[in-house]
């Protein structure tokens, strides 16, 4: 936290520094790009109305986005679940994209086989650049639990990719 910085300024800085991470984290939960963006917007809409700043703002922001994403999932119609969207994009280079595409599809399939906790921690650690301490604060679990979910999830992923 920078001295004298107001809450709205801190929130704006956190958003700008973690824009991609927040979106990816929300997308991994909603599996729908539009809903993920709605979740980020809803969360910040509430965050900007906070009276006082939480002690650790970054995990608080991610937890707010996570809760908003879960709300989106609870409120969606069944038709939205038919075509879940991936957190991964196609590469810009067509040749590289073709090579990466096969690996990406295997990773996607493997991620889908993990438990929700394991998948969420893997996405948070690998694609949202969160530390275990931050993940533990977001999920309100002990640090060791977050680390265990990650280690277990990564080992399962390794096994699924080897077998595939």
């Amino acid at each position: 936290m920078r001295p004298g910085e107001k809450l709205s300024g801190r929130l704006e800085r956190i958003y700008r520094e973690n824009r991609q991470s927040l979106f990816t984290y929300a997308l991994s939960i909603t599996r729908c790009r539009e809903m993920a963006e709605d979740a980020v917007q809803d969360a910040f809409c509430r965050l900007f109305r906070l009276d006082g700043a939480p002690r650790r703002l970054k995990p608080y922001v991610f937890r707010a986005v996570r809760n908003a994403a879960l709300n989106q999932v609870r409120g969606r119609t069944s038709s939205a679940e038919l075509s879940p969207e991936s957190i991964f994009a196609n590469g810009a280079d067509p040749q590289a994209a073709a090579v990466a595409s096969e690996f990406r599809e295997r990773v996607e399939a493997a991620l889908a086989r993990l438990s929700e906790d394991e998948r969420e921690v893997l996405v948070g650690r690998l694609y949202a650049d969160l530390t275990f301490r931050e993940i533990a604060a977001i999920r309100e679990v002990p640090l060791a639990t977050a680390a265990t979910w990650y280690r277990r999830g990564l080992e399962k992923l390794r096994a699924y990719l080897r077998d595939a």
Binding site: R19, F23, T24, R33, A89, L122
Partner: protein, 122 residues
């Protein structure tokens, strides 16, 4: 970080739409924010003498306007006393008017006698 983690991290991520920033910061600064600030501002100070002068002026204008537009005084008539008038109509002949034994006879047949009775009311 092992080799698998590096490979996983290298996968390109889907990006949010460019409009997300506007949506997020639009929610941070709602349209009503300016109006709320206006509403929260204390009202402009007006000197007491000018407020009193304006009140007197408006009063005089209102009185003058009423005087100009008021209709001429209506002619006043004293209220008439309440009088109940009963008109009693009966056949001149001293016949029983409701003689149902002879239904063909009209009960008001023949010359009629009227009597006006004035009863002063309250």
């Amino acid at each position: 970080m092992d080799e698998l983690e590096s490979r996983l991290r290298s996968l390109p991520l889907r990006r949010p739409s460019p409009g997300l920033d506007d949506r997020v910061f639009g929610s941070a600064r709602p349209a009503g924010a300016g109006a709320e600030r206006q509403a929260g501002r204390s009202p402009a100070r007006v000197p007491l003498w000018s407020a009193a002068a304006a009140a007197i002026l408006m009063g005089l204008l209102g009185y003058g306007l009423r005087w100009l537009t008021a209709p001429a005084a209506a002619e006043r008539r004293p209220a008439l006393p309440i009088v109940t008038t009963e008109i009693i109509v009966r056949p001149a002949a001293d016949a029983m008017p409701f003689d149902f034994t002879r239904p063909s006879d009209p009960w008001l047949e023949g010359p009629l006698q009227a009597e006006l009775v004035h009863v002063k009311g309250a």
